[in-house]
């Protein structure tokens, strides 16, 4: 029987991922001799908002800052082997990202590299005009006077397929849904229709499992002594093998660390999922409620019984707003009586907010007792009755409406260097602007997309 597999590799799971991960994936795809594509998921809800702020500062910025570093080691090799690279690395500024890819291609002697620019996800105007209903999950969110930064709709795979139909080597998109980046090359290769829900579900599951990169091959998984993985410093990124008859096997780049087994697959399959029968993507509603998994070889897991339901009429929109300010300050105490000194420091800091009349919402963490599991009220450190910790870092965090209040509040931590308990040291403080996001819904026909494919030479001219 002819080998009818199509391979999809992932080269990045978020903005900030390991930039040396894509090359082993690409080499594995090439060695297979099978038709393949690679995708890069580098956009989160906050990433896109930050990118819009970058673009405001510099009209040529606002795309994935690691774009060139991710592409540099693989661009020529991918082009030679006819393996298209898709990414939402355009972030807030896909045209600038396309220019950056063109520049890199010209420098590498690839003037004929075909670059697709996918646009249309920016729906800032619709949200600014108050035309889009707020998603029910965010119904209680009042953005009050906060200023809208931008709004982007999660677009599906169809415009990405258009780009591949026009022989794009690199697809530069903005706010596509994450799974769409995997659905597109599969739909293009197998000729899936966009109402073949079970086929699209296979693509959505592929995208969902791969979109966080190493999270399905041992990242966010390893737990020394309980869930050990080989060579965590070199975790191999994932590859999906899909067949025309609905087969799906997840594996990973050859000669790398990490692993693929039933445990890594189950953890990622349920990651960020709510109702397992109803995982909504712009292209299909994925149903994993009947799914079964099977280890079919070393680092190879097959998924069975994936189902799809009709896609929704609406697309999700993330709107971001310039919000309040975050002020943070930290100091440490260590050695005998550290816990009593830390608690006293915490109480005094909260008292200082009142004495100074600072208009802030404040929280203190005693790092060494609880750095992440406590409440804003400090339930865990207030009631802590365990052994005396050796070393505690006191962290004050405040939300303020003005930069000045956030700054003044965090500087109260600095003042503890002289006014604090005996042996207080190691102060750090900072103020950062906060971005608020709210989800809206938009009818898909109100989000027309545009696809333009041009060569690196044409773009650079």
């Amino acid at each position: 029987m002819a080998d009818n597999r199509f391979l999809v590799g992932n080269g990045a799971g978020f903005s900030g991922d390991r930039v040396d991960a894509p090359l082993p994936v690409l080499k594995t795809l090439i060695a297979s001799g099978l038709p393949s594509a690679m995708f890069f998921e580098t956009l989160g809800e906050r990433t896109v908002a930050l990118a819009h702020l970058e673009k405001r500062r510099d009209p040529n910025a606002g795309y994935e800052p690691m774009l060139e570093r991710l592409l540099d080691p693989i661009l020529a090799l991918a082009k030679q082997n006819n393996i298209p690279l898709l990414g939402n690395w355009g972030a807030a500024n896909p045209p600038a990202a396309a220019v950056a890819v063109a520049k890199l291609a010209m420098a590498k002697g690839l003037p004929d590299l075909r670059i697709a620019l996918v646009e249309g996800d920016d729906v800032t105007g619709l949200v600014a005009g108050g035309q889009l209903p707020v998603h029910e999950a965010d119904a209680g969110l009042d953005m009050g006077a906060w200023k809208l930064i931008a709004a982007n709709a999660y677009i599906g795979a169809e415009p990405l397929v258009e780009a591949l139909q026009q022989d794009a080597d690199v697809v530069v998109a903005g706010r596509t849904s994450d799974p769409a980046l995997a659905i597109a090359p599969l739909a293009h290769h197998f000729g899936w229709r966009f109402d073949d829900w079970d086929a699209l579900a296979l693509g959505a599951a592929t995208g969902h499992l791969l979109e966080c990169g190493s999270q399905v091959t041992g990242g966010v998984f390893w737990d020394p002594g309980f869930k050990d993985i080989p060579d965590p410093a070199n975790i191999g990124f994932p590859i999906a093998e899909v067949t025309a008859d609905g087969g799906l096997v997840i594996t990973k780049a050859a000669n790398t660390g990490g692993l693929v087994d039933l445990r890594t697959i189950k953890e990622q399959l349920l990651y960020e999922l709510h109702d397992p029968s109803h995982y909504i993507t712009p292209d299909v509603v994925l149903d994993i409620s009947q799914c079964r998994v099977e280890q079919v070889g070393k680092d190879r897991v097959a998924l069975h019984n994936l189902r799809g339901h009709a896609r929704p009429d609406t697309l999700k929109v993330t709107a971001s707003f310039e919000g309040s300010w975050l002020g943070e300050g930290e100091v440490s105490v260590a050695g005998p009586n550290a816990l009593a000194r830390a608690r006293a420091t915490a109480e005094v800091l909260l008292q200082r907010m009142k004495i100074r009349g600072l208009d802030v919402r404040a929280r203190v963490d005693l790092i060494g007792i609880a750095s992440v599991h406590d409440s804003d009220a400090g339930t865990l450190w207030r009631n802590y009755a365990g052994p005396e910790p050796e070393d505690i870092r006191i962290r004050l965090a405040v939300e303020a409406h003005t930069r000045d209040d956030a700054d003044q509040a965090s500087r109260e931590v600095l003042a503890m260097l002289c006014c604090g308990t005996a042996g207080t040291g190691g102060a750090r403080w900072r103020v950062t602007p906060r971005i608020l996001t709210r989800s809206h819904l938009v009818l898909r026909e109100r989000v027309p997309t545009r696809v333009v494919v041009r060569t690196a030479k044409e773009i650079s001219a």
Binding site: L270, C291, D365
Partner: protein, 111 residues
């Protein structure tokens, strides 16, 4: 019967969407699936997060995967954008879940 921490017999991963948290829970040995279903109830999981204002917890059972999915509402004190917590995404909470204890038989039932 012997009492063990969930961490010894099961694994978990946490993810967020807004102010909502999901945590998977899978026993290493499928033979433990039924007793986890009896003992790790949505109410017990909710109680782990009420100090942070969590308002509800739903458990989805996936017997075909020997997995559970817990979805906890209003737990992140504002979510990734609004939270003052260092872990705004709440990703570390899977290990709070794994700190629950369960009673298991000294010898496993045949799976």
């Amino acid at each position: 019967m012997t009492t063990v921490m969930l961490h010894e017999i099961a694994h978990s991963r946490a993810g967020d969407k807004g102010n909502r948290l999901n945590m998977s829970l899978m026993p290493y040995d499928p033979a433990h699936y039924a007793l986890l279903g009896e003992q790790v109830t949505a109410d017990r999981v909710l109680a782990l997060f009420t100090h942070r204002g969590a308002t509800g917890c739903v458990r989805y059972d996936l017997p075909g995967l020997h997995a559970f999915n817990f979805v906890v509402d209003e737990v992140l004190e504002g979510g990734v954008n609004g939270s003052l917590n260092l872990d705004g995404h709440g990703k570390s909470n899977s290990f709070r879940l794994l700190s629950l204890t369960v009673d298991i038989p000294e010898r496993l039932p045949d799976s």
